[in-house]
């Protein structure tokens, strides 16, 4: 074998083996289970059961609605935040502090953070107490167990991914583009929409894809903040694997979630590419 090839191959072997053992193999197990029945005969029965039922479509709709809204809100909050961090903060140390503040919550468990939101959003939580004390509402708002509650928790958990992806794109932007745009008489607004935004679009798209895929498959945050009153696909999957033990049906639900997500991600990637080319 070519000596030049041997080293990269040797280096690839470990991650490749890891990928096969811990990603492809389990995925294959799930797919095989979804395509068979309890007697181990091949069948598409599970998929018919999932897709021919209005109920599942409603759950898919709720799941994707929450994921899309999470992505949208993260984008609307994340872009200005990334802008602030990369463009407006002049003092280096403060920028570091801001980035640390952004990243540190990711070091604590998702469960702990979701419990934190349960305390804040609850009937007697900080938010309701403040609104009640301020006389803005007469009785506590119901936030836990609603899509709004799940959305708040998800945006909090996933916002850092968006900010880091966009911030990275913004910081790599060549300042001369903006100077040229201004030189040619474009007002700052036009420069932003015609120069900066298209150039940072790959960062925006990758941030959106990351947030979307994490949101659509999230279990802990929706499970805790929904209080079991709203179902998302991941919760139905967990139920099948944890208490019903129907791995065939649970597998089919997982594969459906995976395919829908891949379609959405492929779609988003396409937008990024065509806009990037133009």
């Amino acid at each position: 074998m070519n000596r030049g090839l041997r080293m990269p191959l040797a280096m690839l072997a470990a991650p490749l083996a890891f990928f096969v053992a811990f990603f492809l193999a389990p995925l294959a197990v799930v797919i095989l289970a979804s395509l068979s029945d309890t007697a181990n005969a091949w069948t598409l029965e599970q998929y018919v059961r999932v897709l021919a039922d209005r109920y599942h479509w409603e759950v898919i709709l709720v799941t994707f609605r929450i994921a899309c809204l999470t992505t949208l809100v993260s984008l609307l909050l994340g872009y200005p935040l990334a802008w602030y961090l990369t463009r407006m903060v002049r003092w280096r140390a403060w920028r570091r502090v801001c980035v640390i503040l952004l990243v540190v919550p990711m070091f604590t468990s998702n469960i702990v953070r979701s419990f934190g939101w349960m305390v804040l959003l609850g009937r007697k939580g900080l938010l309701n107490q403040t609104l009640l004390d301020g006389g803005l509402i007469d009785r506590p708002l119901r936030l836990l167990g609603t899509e709004t509650g799940i959305l708040i928790g998800m945006v909090y958990v996933l916002l850092p991914f968006m900010v880091l992806a966009i911030g990275n794109a913004l910081s790599r932007l060549d300042a001369s583009h903006e100077l040229a745009s201004a030189d040619l008489g474009a007002p700052p607004r036009a420069t932003f929409f015609h120069v900066i935004l298209p150039l940072t679009l790959p960062g925006v798209i990758s941030g959106c894809i990351m947030v979307f895929t994490l949101a659509v498959s999230a279990y802990v945050t929706p499970a805790l903040l929904s209080g079991g009153r709203i179902s998302v696909l991941s919760m139905l999957i967990f139920q099948q694997y944890s208490s019903v033990f129907d791995f065939h049906y649970g597998g089919a639900l997982s594969v459906v979630l995976l395919i829908f997500t891949l379609v959405m991600v492929g779609f988003a990637g396409r937008i990024g590419r065509t806009r990037g080319d133009a």
Binding site: M118, G122, G145, G227, G228, Q239, S242
Partner: protein
């Protein structure tokens, strides 16, 4: 050149190291026993109350294999040909599934003499052979906030009182108690358990705060005041009381649903004799009293003496007894689990 010499060397080194680690248990084969148990305070109690006395008496080291009942069953099914686990604690319900999966050995009264001290309903039989023995009961009773509710509730119907709207918590079907609790609640409300739809419709109208997946989530809801009444495990509820929270736990007049943590001897266990001895140790009065003190597990062993402070916290409540616990037939529940969960998803969780 360098990589060619060091890589095989490192691989060999790694292989030796891994081999060494893996080989250790086989070297000390007769001196260890692998026991599957739960994590957290349950696992700590099982180790403190059973494993340590066992090791002291026999010199055999207990290797805990930590996991929930479901995880343990999954492991047992995978290892069916060559089991690595000798003894397993699994909850009621999963125990029946393990029996059907054919991973359990029968418990023999000559090898485990303390089986004779266990109450009759604590021995689970399939035909003539005993496939599981109870190591203590826990119940799902009516738990309430004593600040918000001054008069202790007396009936499961109290959950529907308008005063508690928006502040009720119940287990979801993802919790191991979720589905059996529905059967119990239907009975308590005088409904036919053959069709749970009417109960699910009543639950859909009940203004709950949450349906919890884990016992921890229920404790959290009571702690934060999010829930002021609901069904919670005696183990978790009394833990909150012990922490000084204003919580009460009662067994209402309809009784409380209960199940147990059971001990199983694994078919083809590598250390069968030691495993039988271990189960025997767990069935002593001392071990049973110890579990009652640490987890408030109601003893399945006859004539266990516990301090009065512990006695009030046992699953049957202050004045109750084993007869107040409603233990439903798990085989019926397991057979209908998928259908009930599905019905729940459509009627309640949306």
């Amino acid at each position: 050149m360098k990589i060619r010499t060091t890589l095989p060397f490192k691989t060999a080194f790694l292989a030796t190291a891994i081999g060494g680690v893996c080989a250790q248990p086989t070297m000390a084969d007769d001196k260890t026993l692998t026991v599957a148990l739960y994590g957290g305070n349950w696992g700590d109690a099982f180790i403190g109350c059973v494993a340590q006395p066992f090791t002291q008496a026999t010199g055999i080291k207990v290797v805990p294999e930590i996991g929930t009942s479901t995880t343990t069953l999954a492991k047992l099914q995978q290892q069916k040909a060559k089991p690595g686990i000798d003894v397993a604690w699994m909850d009621g319900g999963i125990s029946e599934l393990a029996q059907q999966a054919g991973v359990l050995d029968s418990l023999d009264a000559t090898a485990i003499p303390h089986l004779a001290d266990v109450v009759p309903q604590g021995l689970y039989r399939s035909g003539d052979s005993v496939f599981a023995v109870s190591s203590g009961y826990y119940s799902l009773g009516l738990t309430y906030n004593t600040h918000e509710i001054s008069q202790p509730p007396t009936s499961w119907n109290d959950l529907w009182k308008p005063a508690y709207a928006g502040a009720v918590t119940l287990p979801s079907p993802a919790n191991s108690a979720g589905v059996p609790f529905l059967f119990f609640l239907a009975q308590a409300r005088g409904l036919d358990t053959a069709d749970l739809s009417p109960l699910l419709e009543q639950l859909a109208e009940l203004d709950t705060s949450s349906y919890y997946d884990s016992s921890g989530a229920a404790s959290n809801a009571f702690q934060s005041g999010e829930a002021i009444i609901g069904a919670h495990f005696n183990v978790g509820a009394w833990d909150l009381v012990d922490k000084g929270l204003p919580i009460g736990f009662v067994v209402p007049k309809e009784g409380a649903w209960a199940t147990d943590a059971r001990l199983h001897l694994i078919k083809g266990a590598p250390h069968k004799a030691a495993a039988q001895r271990f189960i025997d140790t767990a069935l002593t009065r001392e071990a049973s009293a110890c579990l009652a003190e640490k987890l408030y597990l109601g003893p399945a062993v006859k004539n266990v003496q516990v301090p009065p402070a512990v006695a009030t916290k046992l699953p049957w409540g202050e004045r109750g007894s084993l007869a107040d616990l409603r233990m439903l037939d798990w085989n019926t529940i397991n057979a209908r689990r998928a259908a009930v969960t599905d019905d729940w998803n459509r009627k309640v969780a949306r």
